[in-house]
């Protein structure tokens, strides 16, 4: 991990829902499982709270990858929030793909409060993918003129 990080240190924003994924991250911490330090976690009440503009804004402000973590489908604290989030994110990611932006930069993962190991694994994998992709230039400015 550290070798890859030498040249470019990517910034990764992780939106985590309060009830599952944030607790999952907590468990990863208390179980002493490591995940990359450049993953910045933003706690949200529910994955459904994440407005597509949040994700775009993160990219605009210099994120190289954005990941949304929520409760597993069917396990939402608010019954159905993650189902709506799922539809929204599918459409948003598909649109980003349509605009020619690398689709690996965005991701959705379902992580429960008991899945500290999964959280750590997902973040390590995602950070690796983003390191390989390098700096985010396309989403920072769609109208960039080279």
């Amino acid at each position: 991990m550290q070798e890859l990080n030498k040249e470019h240190k990517p910034l990764i924003v992780a939106f985590c829902c309060n009830w599952c994924s944030y607790a999952g991250a907590d468990l990863a911490g208390s179980s002493r499982l490591s995940y990359p330090a450049n993953v910045k976690i933003i706690r949200v009440p529910c994955s459904c709270r994440v407005n597509p503009t949040f994700i775009l804004k993160a990219f605009q402000k210099g994120a190289d990858g954005v990941i949304l973590c929520g409760c597993h489908p069917g396990d939402c604290h608010y019954t159905s929030g993650n189902y709506y989030a799922r539809r929204r994110m599918t459409l948003l990611f598909s649109m980003l793909d349509y605009l020619g932006i690398e689709r690996e930069r965005t991701r959705v993962e379902w992580v429960s409060a008991a899945e500290g190991a999964k959280f750590s694994k997902v973040m390590n994998e995602f950070a690796k993918t983003i390191c390989e992709l390098g700096e985010n230039k396309r989403l920072e400015d769609l109208r960039c003129k080279d």
Partner: protein, 321 residues
């Protein structure tokens, strides 16, 4: 075609003079024949300036949000595609249906003045319309399809909501595949797509015309105007909204966009904005089953609904790499 305009004027006069409505929302003449704008007429005398021709492309349904809330009844002339927008507004409780008398009017496809110029006719002083051709300045005959707005090559044809119909000739053409260009873009490589959109969106001058004209954009407080929002307003120095404006604009109407094509029609920079909306429509059709906004108001919108077996956001096929 002139018969239709006469019928339109007669109908408007009849509605006003009988007292059935106290105003009519239609189109008024401008300085030139192609310079037609939406207007409200309060009396039979004012109707002298009313007009209905191939340049009446504006979607009147958005004006009804305001007009339907005023006192008295308003009559409106809606084309087939306008009725979809109107129906969607009814669904969203944005218009007061009881205050509106809808006359579904015939439409044989509206014109784009730029397309006239492209044919090399020069100044367009007058246009005489026929079902499949137009006579410009009384001398040059042009095929009607050559000067139609792009959106009119794909036509909805049927009115979905009306109180009465004013149709003399049925529309026959307009059966092209509306997702043709979306499919073409998806078949390109990611780099080509990026280059395409960069070129298109770089033309944007952020005039907000696409937002202002859109019948699905009906928030009284818009994120693009609201200083307290996540996204700053136009005057601020933040560069965010300028760049990602178009993604957000299209997303805000995803699942509600009736594909009326007004955004592309009004764009002064000719950005094909409808291609963004159509991408959302084609995705919704593909992932969540066929859905046409504005067609059936009893149906739940795709983004306010879900099934437990929906596709995962990491798993869609997407365009070429």
């Amino acid at each position: 075609m002139q018969r239709l305009e006469v019928a339109f004027l007669e109908k408007a006069k009849e509605l006003l003079s009988s007292g059935q409505v106290n105003r009519v929302l239609a189109y008024k003449k401008g300085e030139f024949c192609y310079d037609v704008s939406p207007a409200v007429f309060y009396s039979v005398e004012e109707l002298e300036n009313a007009v209905y021709n191939g340049f009446c492309g504006a979607n009147l349904s958005k004006y009804l949000i305001q007009e339907s809330k005023k006192e008295g009844k308003v009559a409106v002339f809606l084309k087939p595609c306008d009725t979809y927008s109107f129906n969607q507004l009814i669904k969203e409780h944005r218009v007061n249906r009881e205050n509106v008398y809808v006359v579904g009017i015939e439409c044989q496809g509206k014109f784009s003045i730029e397309k006239f110029y492209k044919t090399g006719v020069g100044f367009v002083a007058s246009v005489q319309e026929d079902l499949d051709s137009v006579l410009v300045n009384g001398e040059t005959k042009i095929d009607r399809n050559a000067v139609k707005l792009e959106r009119c090559l794909v036509c909805k044809k049927q009115h979905v909501v009306y109180d009465e119909l004013l149709v003399i000739n049925e529309k026959k053409d307009g059966d092209l595949d509306r997702f043709e260009m979306v499919k073409k873009l998806e078949a390109m490589t990611a780099d080509e797509r990026f280059a395409f959109w960069k070129e298109q969106l770089s033309k944007c001058i952020r005039c907000n015309a696409c937002r202002n004209v859109c019948p699905a954009c009906t928030c009284t407080k818009c994120v693009f105007d609201n200083d307290d929002s996540q996204i700053s307003s136009k005057a601020n120095a933040d560069s965010f909204e300028e760049k990602l404006f178009h993604i957000i604009r299209a997303f805000h109407v995803a699942g509600r966009c009736t594909d009326c094509g007004e955004c592309s029609r009004v764009c002064p920079q000719n950005i094909p904005l409808h291609l963004l909306n159509r991408k959302y429509i084609s995705d919704i059709n593909e992932f969540y089953g066929e859905f046409e906004a504005g067609k059936d108001i009893a149906q739940k919108g795709p983004l306010t609904n879900y099934t437990t077996g929906d596709i995962e956001p990491n798993d869609f096929k997407g365009g070429n790499k």
